[in-house]
Amino acid sequence: MAMEVTQVLLNAQSIDGTVRKHAEESLKQFQEQNLPSFLLSLSGELANDDKPVDSRKLAGLILKNALDAKEQHRKFELVQRWLSLDANVKTQIKTCLLNTLTSTVADARSTSSQVIAKVAGIELPQKQWPELIVSLLSNVHQLPAHVKQATLETLGYLCEEVSPDVVEQDHVNKILTAVVQGMNASEMNNDVRLAATRALYNALSFAQANFSNDMERDYIMRVVCEATQYAELKIRQAAFECLVSISSTYYEKLAPYMQDIYSITAKAVREDEEPVALQAIEFWSSICDEEIDILEEYGSDFTGNSDIPCFYFIKQALPALVPLLLEILLKQEEDQDQEEGAWNIAMAGGTCLGLVARTVGDDIVPLVIPFIEENIAKPDWRQREAATYAFGSILEGPSPDKLLHIVNVALSFMLSALTKDPNNHVKDTTAWTLGRIFEFLHGSTIGTPIITQANCQQIITVLLQSMKDTPNVAEKACGALYFLAQGYEDVGPSSPLTPFFQEIVQSLLTVTHREDAGESRLRTAAYETLNEVVRSSTDETAPMVLQLVPVIMMELHKTLEGQKLSSDEREKQGELQGLLCGCLQVIIQKLGSSEPTKYVFMQYADQIMGLFLRVFACRSATVHEEAMLAIGALAYAAGLDFAKYMPDFYKYLEMGLQNFEEYQVCAVTVGVVGDICRALEEKILPYCDGIMTQLLKDLSSNQLHRSVKPPIFSCFGDIALAIGENFEKYLMYAMPMLQSAADLSAHTANVDDDMTEYTNSLRNGILEAYSGIFQGFKNSPKTQLLIPYAPHILQFLDSMYMEKDMDELVMKTAIGLLGDLADTLGSNAGSLIQQSLTSKDFLNECLSSKDHMIKESAEWARLAINKAISV
């Protein structure tokens, strides 16, 4: 049945486009005409040592892609397709794959390893291919080195591919034994050791039981620590990656090893090559992550404690760890600030120092201050920069009281450094540090303000001056201004920034027009800072914000003038339009929030909407996310008047709802539908058929990212609130969807935090939908249409109550829905509620809640229920 495919596979990699295209076509045809034969041919090609390595690699790659895909729905299809293949065909393919592991050609072995893991990922959960692991491990220690390496690599991929619960403990033990032996010093072959170390990285999540056993854990830890000392760099790097993974997966088991790990990592940070040193620093950052999480849980009075106790490793390591980190801050690279995405030891060190400060708080301050004082004025720029960077890194974590004194001393020094220091890096880090000062130590929550009438003028002058500096420094100066403005968001009727408002806005607009504003994300920073300045402004400056409207509109208009654009230019145009629409969004929100300014602003509404529609029209298949967000703000400001824009806008709304791929666009559009519902109320009715159709399609799609689904349910609620009993015709579609989603969300076992969070957001969406529908139907003669759904809803509430895993928000929405149900259905609901299992307990629990939002909803629900029962 297999066919000769070598030449086609080679042609498919030809430099000649025509040849390549032709070959790709024939491969596609072959696959469509006879899939089993196609797959067999590929696996035969991969296994055949007489074939050229290039055709073998491509054969393996095509096989792999026939088993897995990125998109969930495609992946599901491929899994089903493989499972439904003839058993004999599958056996032949798998035999070929396993045979390839013994090949002398490394690329063939490696490719086959990955394909085997993909097949295992499909078959093991189905309890198929039970002999795989045993056969891989049967005589692993007697194998030639290259086969041993391939076997270990396969095991590594396999652990990455399948979930721990489908592999029995006995097999896990065997895998770990083989892997750890492969890492051992007694193993002389470096390739085998590297494959084993990388395999361990993936196998760690399988080792829960083994890490609970002191003997086994000691053994694994010893082997990993030894591996960090091997001569081969890649092995050392992989071994440190294992340590990083262990630090988060098995944090609570680490205490006995911390002393050794500190020595190993400190040595690596100081002496080893960069890739290894970076992983060694990452180990400490990862420990900080763990302890920050645990201490945060300690702090929240929700449960009072965490499942995992805090071992305060960072606090204990502090006297040694902080000097180590400060030392490496001096290892800067020359151009790191101009390079986007740069990452080196100094940057990792500062990042880790920031995490340490957040973990231990005040304790870090006395350890860092001497370093700052000693280095901040040194002639070597590296010392000045490192001192500034250290200062900026520790501003989050310690209490403001602990920092205020030094910050007040440092502030004027920093302002002068920002203008006078000859070194670009120093200025960059200084501006960033000023931003950190304003972010964490300036604002209405800070008792003694660090920005006073005396220094405000100087601060602003310096920042505006620095916006004329090189793009990287100017970008950081914008950032500092951003946080400066943010600190005044609650300042009250009069803001200290008012006298400078005009000048600030003008300077920011000038920055956006700089020739080099595309570098270091300067233009983005300038617009976002402008947004924050506007958002935090007070009524005093409202006239100036109003003047900004035509200015930004003109900018947006200019982006629409361009002639034919290259794809590169088009991307830039889209980006700029995004920034301008974002700016308009903030301005609309600001001006729309008070009557007098809204009134004046609305004179521009027609023109602005016209511009937004033209921004949409620039693109063929997608809608502009930022323009969509801005339209949401405009709808709220315009209220009923927004109706006149709907005929032109509707098609883009629909397009946004259809955008499965860019799910954020879809999510934003769903939000805008809600805004429009609230603005238009019943006037949205003519568009509801289309919108509901699209939303229902979205819900039933398995292509759409799951995070968009809860907001879609909430959106049902928005629509029902707006159109009331007119929602009737959608009941037969929406209700079954809600019911099945409710069933799904009621019985999700607590897999992990992410899942619990998602489940709660899904529940909230469902509850909001029901509430909206019931409220919408209230007082209409059609309320009886809802009666049949009441029992299921009450069961849903029962089951959630019994699971005891609702968060506060869900609880509030749920008790509110119980009230809505009683309120709308009256006596019809009364008896159902009385019969329900837990309604009464649930109500009582909510009535005695400490959360006043829950309590208030519950009090209302009690009234509604009493009324329903007494009728």
């Binding site: 270091s520 949401g632 609620g717 007082n779 209409s780």
Partner: protein
Amino acid sequence: MADDSLNHHKRDPIKSSVGNVAAQRRRQNAVTVGKERRESLVRAKRLCRVGTSADGEVSSDSDMMVDEEQSILEMQTSSAVEELKSAVAYQGKGAMQKRVNALRELRRLLSRFEFPPIETALKAGAIPVLVQCLAFGSPDEQLLEAAWCLTNIAAGKQEETKALLPALPLLIAHLGEKSSSPVAEQCAWALGNVAGEGEEFRNVLLSQGALPPLARMMLPNKGSTVRTAAWALSNLIKGPDPKPATELIKVDGLLDAILRHLKRADEELTTEVAWVVVYLSALSNVATSLLVKSGVLQLLVERLATSNSLQLLIPLSSPDLSAALLSRQEAAWVLSNIAAGSVEHKQLIHSSEALALLLHLLSTSPFDIKKEVAYVLGNLCVSPTKGEGKPKLIQEHLVSLVGRGCLSGFIDLVRSADIEAARLGLQFMELVLRGMPNDEGTKLVEREDGIDAMERFQFHENEDLRNMANGLVDKYFGEDYGLDE
């Protein structure tokens, strides 16, 4: 494929670009704002409903409240007002949430108890600070809570209502189109309470311009807004001065809006709107003319007809029924006001389809309605007279009505224990006896057992009715009547 390193994630550097964080925050903010608006909409809807039913509600759960000693309650109220004062003075972070929380607490105290501590709140100085909370540009949630507090204070005794005077201009200002509908509704509600307190208050509200914005709230189709506005308006135009009613009917689009709302299925809504029509037609001739011309009559009739059929559908015990009854009764009352008007109005009703329905209702509907209908029919047969003396007959109407069999319905009323109804019945019988051509009246009355009905009054305790009935019997069925005597 097999990379050089494993899939380790790269950490975000602590020194990052502000653009990344800012854009994320801005989007997050847009989502949060949307959620807050939904939340406040949902809450506002629930809050208003609690309010509407509060009167009936308090008793059913008063058991929950008894244990709150009055003195404790007063203490809580004073401190809630103090808390509000300091929240209003505070300008720092979270100021707005602080104000809203303080308002909510005060509102809860003012709405939860059978005897809300209004006096205490006033003594503690609640009004000036609540007025401050109504300042322009305040967030909706704050406006809503403040207006709600004021609503509950206005529902108190007259001198307590009076304390609200300083708040009226702002409450009226927030009725405007620029306000969100929950806020406007709550303000309308507070104003309705004030207007309900008496003529003096109505005049103040009218002079401050409350009528036009309330009238404009009637124009859109939003059920709850229209309902509240209609209720407040019916309090506002209650009279005795007819000018407000005339002013109201002349508001652009109002008449159309009334017609539109009366066509809607929402019984509560049509009831409130019907009340407005009641006062309009009762007080203002201008309004009555416009109403009649607009076909409101036709609508009210349709309303009666549909309610009539609803009766068949809804089981007797349903609360919807009483709502329906109420609505029909008001509709009939409007007709009777119109029927008590000029001869032209009467001719209009007489020639409309309403007549058949009225006749049907007279024989089939419950007593209350029967009485209203009888009043309309009776009025149709007479024209207004100046001074004392018997009303002038419109014989044409009388003959046609009697010809269509309405007499027995009136005679039923004569038999009722309700003095007003009996009087109506007797009056109509008098018309029949006096006005039917060829002395047909006596025969008709006798055939319908009218004599028997009248004789029940022979020794009736009500002198007036006794004399009326005896007079009629003596005059038309006395010594010289027929062959029996």
